[in-house]
Every structure is written in structure tokens, then in C-alpha cells.
Symmetry: C2
């Protein structure tokens, strides 16, 4: 058996996945509505084909052969990692009986549908039976897949390889202790920036040009990508040379589109930057969802909401939208950095965002661990919102029903968002050390300086390293929430006019 | 064996074909350039999968079983026709050795590439070896497939089922005898309409709105379709509920986009109108390429270049483009109906168009019959252009190299264009009989009256009938070129101010 055969076989799977991704992209961006039912069926068929190839006896034979010590020891680093990634996935996926997996997919498909309606009516009871069924599947699958200490480990690992619940819990405990009082301090003693001049009417066609312009400035390659409009922005890779992003445009909210575009552009740069050496290989993907999110957060928050970036970009914005001509850049910078505890995760600012995630993580972990029942969720949710953010949802639509993830069976995904924020801060601190004049470069519009650092340190590697190994390799340290807190304290302390006491 | 199994199996093929069509649509409309190589490979893979399923032993078993007299006699009309369509295709396709078919696909792929370059350089010699290879394949395949009288019958049948070379030749002989002198008469004795007011600058965004508006007026269903821009307009069906058209916009040529849109819209109405009863069946397609073209030609020429339509639509055009405000509708109508022998088929008017096709048919038939060699084509082409149209190509780019069809291995396709014109006139004459006030309806903007007639008589049937049976069913007569000549004589005689002598 030659490693080339393995790659040839995997390429076919990847091709099906690319086509499935195209079908999905088209469904979300271009497809006329009357095609939905048939196209879903076709998408399911493509997914099943890829699943079947991934769990086939032939794949089993590859896994068995290339994991033999005598064979494995002769593989080079790339081949070794490709085999390891596929082996892990093969073992996970083939541990689940095919009919149970299919039943799960059906339950999630129905779940998303019911959730949509239940959210519209703000009726948690309507969604509850679906949610219970899906949680049942999650618990069942966790047993098939196995775990070392905590059931939730198996779910976490789907999105953040090798991350454990215990590690995550310890990070959260530390972060929470610093973040909650800091937010209170901002609220109680800080001066909220004026945001009145952000209101206005911004023609969609102008916004679309702005989005293209900012992506170009970020060195996003339009020869290997494109931008379209969708209600919920997303990024998708259809393979090497085809990484597509979307954004949304609201006529009365200019910054929403711009930050969405920079966020998705950050994801896009990651996918566009994976080494072509890994073309059609298992390695040709991001290290994890958390690392992916770190790149989007970097561009959205650490660049897009930075003073340095706006020193460069503000004149361009002013040229396009006359209402900013008399607003000083410093005021603008403060206005786009308002901190406000809010009910809805996707509207949360850079500082409060992580609290939304902690709450979800704690709920998921307790659900999977059986210490909380689905029926208790609204109460549990509302209590934690009050505790962490000091706000109380007026109804379940703005509370426990706000996200689609559980309806879609994506337990274990939420922590990626928080990890993304923490990784971003830690990577960015390393980038600052490597590029001492980083702020000047950004202020001069040389965004490629940052992008090149990201590419060579993070993007190009694809999934060659587990995220924790990548983090140590790039930053010299394991995951640590302090870079995030340091960055947030420095930035928002200044914006809100708070002099921080010396920390011990 | 149950007919349901046959349909289930065919549905899978149709699903692959739909996905392949989506990939193709995306390649032509949205795909970033750097994805081209990989996506071609994936498109090839999907096509091969559908091909393999179409020629599989399982398909062979279906064909054998449902063609047994004892079984076939129990099928209803729909099932019977579905089996017949698949049987015909199965026998054709599986007669060709798979490796020869693949070699042909490769030759065509290279052929299109070389043709592109050769056309750019106007260098027929560069393209000649490819063309010879492709013609070699065509001759070889014709022998596998078999034919009754003329080798060319087998090729013609791919696009126009059951049409023979002899029939086509006889139609052409008659039509040519009337058409060539009529064009000469227009040129020599007619008064060419003034077209000066068509010149101008027409913003693309305005043209795009116009195209959407005219499609809506034609009752094209945007809930089951969309319009995009491409250099070469086309229509594609991605299945029930998803029929997409494209058009092109030239800033200095308003009518080009509008007629392209109406042309593709006519194709689109056909696909959107096929009965949903035939969902996922072999029947769910047009009767033939010629019948397809008849629907596009009807909307482009018989509606889009008619006086009745412009009585309805001209005020809308004037509302959008101020330059027409002082131009009477009669002058406009004449201007969009100029007859001018020209070098290039795709720029040809309604009257001279068929001559471009006759020439191509005669060349193809002679090539496949071995009476003309590929090397002689430029001479042969130029001589016929002179004879039929009175023009001489200055170079091969504007002559024998102008079309992609031969490079793509599409021998037998060209006659569809001419048949489309003839069918269109014959169908339209029948529609006029069925709807005596058709002109008034069109002039009142009730385009749905025509569309409903087309739908119930032509579109809904899908491929239930062979084109010649459909023609007799709808018009009461076999194919006849006189409705075309009558329509052209009446219309252009009036526009060019020619009083025709009474024909005997």
C-alpha cells in the first residue's frame, strides 16, 4: 500500500466535500427559494457519500496499515500528520452506528426548523422535545466516541482538538474573576463615548464598495475569492483558490457590515493562506475552530477596532461618507468601542462577549453531564445572565432560544468563540514582539505586514499542529487569558477614562 | 423489478446531473479564476459518475427488463416513455467504449482551449490537428451508434431525436430557394430603416433593471430562477424550481442585452413550464434542442421584435431611457428589425440567420460523410458565405473559426438553431389560430396569454413526444418552412416597403 493511494482516495472525499460546500454556499446566497427542498436532498446525498467514503472498509484498511508501527515510523512529518488526522476522524465517525448518525441528522434538521418557529413565538416549550432528543443523541455519541475524564471532552474535541473541559474550566474561572468586576468598573466609573454621529443612512451600494475596499486593504485575494450578501455572514472554503465570504448590509448601521466583513475576511485570509503544499490533503484545513476564530477576531477587533487602523482608514471612510468629515478620528475610535452588557451574543462587544460564552459552556457541560435537565434551561439561563452581565431577558427569544447551535446539534462549539478571543490576544502580543513597529505599519496601511506574520506562523501550517502545540510554537506559552485581559484593560481603561489600580 | 426502483435509480443520476449543472453555472458566473483547474476536475468527476450510473449493469438490467414485451405492454404512457428515453440513451452511450469516450472528452477539452487561441490569432492551421482528431472521433462514434441511411443521422439525432439528414436537406433546399432571393430583394429594392437613434450610452444598472422587468412581464418566475451576467448568455436548469438565465450588458448597445434576455427567458419559460408530474424523471426535459430554440426564438423574435409587443412595452422603455421619448414606436420597431447579411452567426438578424446554419449543416454533413476534408474548410466556408450571403470573411476568425461547437465536439447541433426558427413560426401560426386576438393581448401586455398556450401545448409535455410528433399534435402538420417564409415576407416586406408579387 502506497501513501499515494491514500491521498488519491482522500482527494475524492475532499472533492465531494468541496461540491457539498458549493451547494451549501449557493443555497445560502443565490438559490431561488423553490429549489430548497430538492437541493437539501442533494446536499444530504453528497454529505452521505463523503461520510460513507470516510468510514468505508477501504479507509479502514488505510488506517490500519499506516498506523502499523513499522509503517508509521517511515512516514515523513506531513504524511504522518495526515494519517493521524484521518485516523482520529475515522475512529470517531465509525464508532457511531450509521443508522444512529442518520437519525441524528434528521433530528437536527427538524430541530432547526422547530427552533426557528419556537424562537419566532418565543416558546421554549415548543422546542423542548427536540432539544431533549438532540441532547440524548449527544450523550449517546459521547459514549461511542469515548472520553477520559469528562463526557464534554468528546464534544469539545470535535471543534478544539485536545482541549479538555478541565483546562477550559480553569481558564474560565480565572478570566471570569477579572472580567466581571472590570466590566462593572467600566459601567460604574467610566465615561461612555458619544456614538450619536454613527447614526445615519448609508446606501447599500456604497457599503458594498467599502467592504470590497477593506478586504482588498487586508490583502484578501479576490482572484481566489468573492464577497456576497447574506443575512448571517459566513466564510466557506470550496477548496484551494476558492474561499468565499459574505456580509450583511443594514442601511442604518454602517459599522455592522464593516466589522462583519473584516471578521469574515479574517477567516478568509486563514483559508487563503494555507500552504498549497497541502492541496487535497486532510491537513488542508484550520488547526481548530478556535484558531479560526482567532484570525477573524484579530481582524475584526484587534485591527478593525484599533486606533492604528483608523489612522490609516478613517480618511477613506470620510471620503465616502460626508457625515464623518467633521468628526475627529479619536471620537470615532471611541464610538466604535462602546462596552454595553447586552442580551444577545452576536451583538456583544469585545469585552462582554466572553461572558456569553462562559454561560453557554457551563450550561452545555452540565446538560451533557446530566446535572441540569433541558426543561430547566430558561431559568438557568436567565439567572446566569443576571449574574454575569446584569441583564435579564424579557423573553426566551432574547434568552435561551437566541442561538441555532443546539438545534443543529453543535454542542461543544461555543467555546471556540471565547478561545478565539483569547488566542487572538495571545497571538497578537507575539506579533507585536516580532514586529515592534506594528502600530505604525497598520497606521500606514501596511496591513500585509500583519498578514504575512499570520501566514507564516499560523495560516500556512494548516492543521499540521494541534492548537495547543501551535500556540506554544508561535507564542512560546500555553493558553493564557492574561494577554486578553491586559489588552482589554489598557484599551478600554483609556477609552472610558479609568485609571486602573496597579494589579498585584 | 418495480418501476419505482427504476425511478429511484434514475433520480440519483438526475441529482448528480443537477449538481454538475450547478458547478458549471458557478464556473461561468461566480467562481474566482484561481479555482478553475480544480473545479474542472470536480465537474469531470460528477459527469463521470452520472455516465457510469447511466451505463451500469444495473441500468442494463432495467433496460432489458422493462423492454420485455410482456412487461412493456403493462406500462402506462409516462412510464413507457421514460423507459424508451433511457433505453435509447443507454444503448447509444454504452455502445461507445468507455476509454474512447474519455479520450474524446479530453480531445474536446484541449480542442476548446486550442480553438480559443487559434481564433484569437485567426490561425486555422493551428486548430486543424485538433479538429481532425475530433472529426475522427465523431466518425468512429457514429459507427458504434449505428445509422440507417446517412452517418450524419446519428449526430443529428443527439439533438433532434428522429430527425434525418434527408428530411433536413429537403427543408433546406426549399427554404434556401425562397430565402436567398428574398434577402436580395430586400437589399436591392427595400428601404433600410434608420437606426441612428439606437446609439447611445445605457448604464448597466439600468439595463439590468430592464432585463428583470421584461422577464417579469414574460411571466418568468423569479421564485424558481434568477438572472446573472456572463459574456455568452445561456440558460441552465438545475432541476425543478431552479432555472437560471444569464445575459450580457454592453454599455453602448441596449438592444443586445434586451434581446438576449428575452431569448434566454424563452428557454427559461420552457424549463419552468415542464410538468412537475415529471419531477426527477427522464421525461423532465425539453423535447429537443430545436424545440427549445423555438421557444427562445419566439420570445426574442416573434414577440420581442414584434410591433404588438412594443405597443405595450415601448412606453416603459421610454420612461427609462429619455433618448427614445421623441422617437415614434413605428420608427423604433423598424430600427430593431434591420436585415443585414453579416459574417458572424450570433450577430445575424432573423432573416439571414438560417443561411448561417445551412452552410454549417452542409459542411458538417460533408465532413462526416468524408466528402470534404478538414483542411479544405476555410475555402469551402468562404465560398458558401459568398454564395448565400454575399459577404466574404476577411480572416478565419470571422469565418470558419467563429463558433466553438466543433472544438467542443458538438457536431449535429447547428441545425437546432434553424429548426428552432422554423418550429417557432409554425407554432406561432398555431397560437394565432388558437388565440385570434393574440396581437391585441400582446399589445395590452398580457404576455401570459401566449405563455399559457405554450405551457399547455409544449412546455408541460417535457419530452413526452418526439419533436415531429409534438409538431403534428400542436400544429396539425409536419415540419414546413412556409410559416417562417410567410411571416418573414409579410413583416419585412412591410418594413422595407416592398410590395411582393403574388406567389403562385
Amino acid at each position: 500500500m502506497d501513501i499515494k493511494e491514500f491521498y488519491d482516495y482522500y482527494r475524492e472525499i475532499a472533492q465531494y466535500q468541496n461540491v457539498a460546500a458549493l451547494v451549501e454556499w449557493d443555497m445560502r446566497t443565490k438559490m431561488p427559494p423553490k429549489a430548497a427542498a430538492d437541493r437539501s436532498m442533494v446536499a444530504g446525498k453528497l454529505g452521505r457519500t463523503a461520510f460513507e467514503m470516510m468510514t468505508s472498509p477501504r479507509m479502514g484498511a488505510f488506517v490500519e496499515f499506516f498506523n502499523r508501527p513499522s509503517i508509521a515510523s517511515q512516514l515523513n512529518e506531513t504524511d504522518h500528520r495526515n494519517v493521524a488526522l484521518v485516523t482520529k476522524q475515522y475512529r470517531k465517525v465509525s464508532a457511531i452506528p450509521a443508522d444512529r448518525f442518520e437519525a441524528f441528522i434528521v433530528a437536527c434538521s427538524r430541530g432547526e426548523h422547530v427552533w426557528q418557529e419556537a424562537k419566532g413565538k418565543s416558546d421554549f416549550g415548543m422546542f423542548l422535545p427536540c432539544l431533549e432528543e438532540i441532547i440524548g443523541f449527544e450523550k449517546e455519541f459521547v459514549e461511542y466516541e469515548g472520553y477520559e475524564q469528562n463526557r464534554y471532552d468528546a464534544l469539545l474535541d470535535d471543534y478544539e482538538p485536545s482541549m479538555t473541559t478541565a483546562e477550559l474550566q480553569s481558564i474560565i474561572d480565572g478570566l471570569k474573576q477579572e472580567l466581571v468586576p472590570f466590566i462593572r468598573q467600566l459601567q460604574e466609573h467610566g465615561t461612555r463615548p458619544d456614538t450619536s454621529f454613527l447614526a445615519g443612512t448609508f446606501p447599500v451600494s456604497e457599503q458594498a464598495q467599502l467592504s470590497r475596499d477593506v478586504l482588498t486593504a487586508m490583502t484578501y485575494d479576490f482572484g481566489a475569492g468573492r464577497i456576497d450578501e447574506t443575512e448571517h455572514p459566513f466564510t466557506t472554503s470550496l477548496g484551494v483558490g476558492d474561499v468565499r465570504v459574505t456580509t450583511h448590509y443594514y442601511e442604518h448601521d454602517l459599522m455592522s457590515a464593516l466589522f462583519s466583513t473584516m471578521h469574515e475576511g479574517g477567516h478568509g485570509l486563514y483559508e487563503q493562506g494555507i500552504s498549497e503544499e497541502y492541496h487535497w490533503m486532510p491537513l488542508h484545513r484550520a488547526a481548530s475552530m478556535g484558531v479560526h476564530e482567532s484570525q477573524s477576531r484579530t481582524w475584526e477587533n484587534l485591527v478593525g477596532r484599533s486606533e492604528a487602523f483608523w489612522r490609516f482608514y478613517y480618511p477613506r471612510l470620510q471620503g465616502r461618507f460626508a457625515q464623518f468629515r467633521d468628526v475627529p478620528v479619536e471620537d470615532f475610535y471611541k464610538a466604535i468601542n462602546v462596552v454595553e452588557p447586552s442580551l444577545v451574543r452576536i451583538e456583544a462587544d469585545e469585552v462582554t462577549y466572553n461572558l456569553h460564552i462562559m454561560l453557554r459552556f457551563e450550561i452545555e457541560e452540565a446538560l451533557i453531564g446530566g446535572r441540569v435537565q433541558a426543561a430547566d434551561l430558561p431559568r438557568f439561563w436567565n439567572a446566569k445572565m443576571k449574574e454575569y452581565l446584569g441583564v435579564e431577558p424579557p423573553d426566551d427569544a432574547h434568552g435561551v432560544l437566541q442561538d441555532v447551535h443546539w438545534a443543529g446539534g453543535m454542542f461543544g462549539y461555543f467555546p471556540s468563540y471565547m478561545l478565539g478571543n483569547l488566542y487572538a490576544a495571545q497571538f497578537f502580543a507575539a506579533a507585536r514582539e516580532a514586529i515592534p513597529n506594528l502600530d505604525e505599519e497598520l497606521a500606514a496601511g501596511h496591513l500585509s505586514v500583519l498578514r504575512e506574520w499570520q501566514r507564516s506562523n499560523i495560516h500556512a501550517c494548516g492543521a499540521l499542529y494541534d492548537p495547543k502545540d501551535l500556540l506554544v510554537k508561535v507564542t512560546g506559552k500555553p493558553l493564557d487569558y492574561h494577554p486578553f485581559m491586559d489588552q482589554v484593560r489598557a484599551k478600554y481603561g483609556r477609552i472610558y477614562g479609568i485609571v486602573e489600580r496597579e494589579r498585584d
